[in-house]
Symmetry: C2
Subunit: 130 residues, 2 copies
């Protein structure tokens, strides 16, 4: 199939697929006479795999690793679990940070009258040294 169909099937944009091809992440299965990229079942699977992994927040280098593991029939599940667990930790940390942020900002918004007067705890707070 051509790139536009691979795009539809994978849920990735044409530009993105070309980009992945450029950086050597997912190579097309071949090229036709006109030089058009061709994608077969395997390369399409890889594209889908990458899209999903990216949605999970795995970086491109991590995706590269995972794709290697994905293709490697001899790898242990422990190898994969290790990468995924690290990513899970990242998510938990990010969640905590976001929660702090949310609480603090929510507090500020709550305490701001939001009227015509200039007094505003949000501004005052941001200006504080912390």
């Amino acid at each position: 199939m051509k790139i536009s169909e691979a795009s539809e099937q994978s849920g990735l944009r044409v530009k993105t697929i070309r980009y992945y091809s450029d950086i050597g992440l997912v190579a097309p299965s071949g090229r036709n006479d006109a030089g058009y990229r061709q994608y077969d079942k395997t390369s399409l699977q890889q594209l889908i795999f990458i899209r999903r992994a990216r949605e999970f927040g795995f970086s491109i280098p991590e995706c590269r690793d995972l794709l290697g593991l994905y293709s490697d029939k001899a790898r242990s599940s422990a190898d994969v679990k290790k990468i995924a667990s690290t990513r899970l930790e990242d998510i938990r940390k990010k969640q905590d940070e976001l929660q702090c942020l949310h609480d603090e900002l929510f507090h500020l918004v709550q305490n701001c009258r939001g009227d015509d007067r200039p007094d505003c705890p949000i501004i005052s707070n941001l200006a504080e040294m912390k």
Copy 2:
């Protein structure tokens, strides 16, 4: 004060302060004879303000807006509240996404034996079309 002291006082790196100066976000109060950037109390306050706002996840354009509101003695607290509320909504959305991600990935990690065998639900799941 010179840029390195402004850096210490504000918690921003020297490079970052120069960058803010370049993009016209926070201009130094002046330059000395040697062309060194000088920061006074007001410009330092602005740097601190920006650092805090950035930590809250406000983008540079948003920081620019907020800084305008910060300096504008005539602005209403409603203007500020509006920007902050939008940001709060962004945070909530991000939290939800992160929660979904966490649950899904946690489930996968839980179900992976993490042993020497190649069978791995994480890999299988990533390879699935969704």
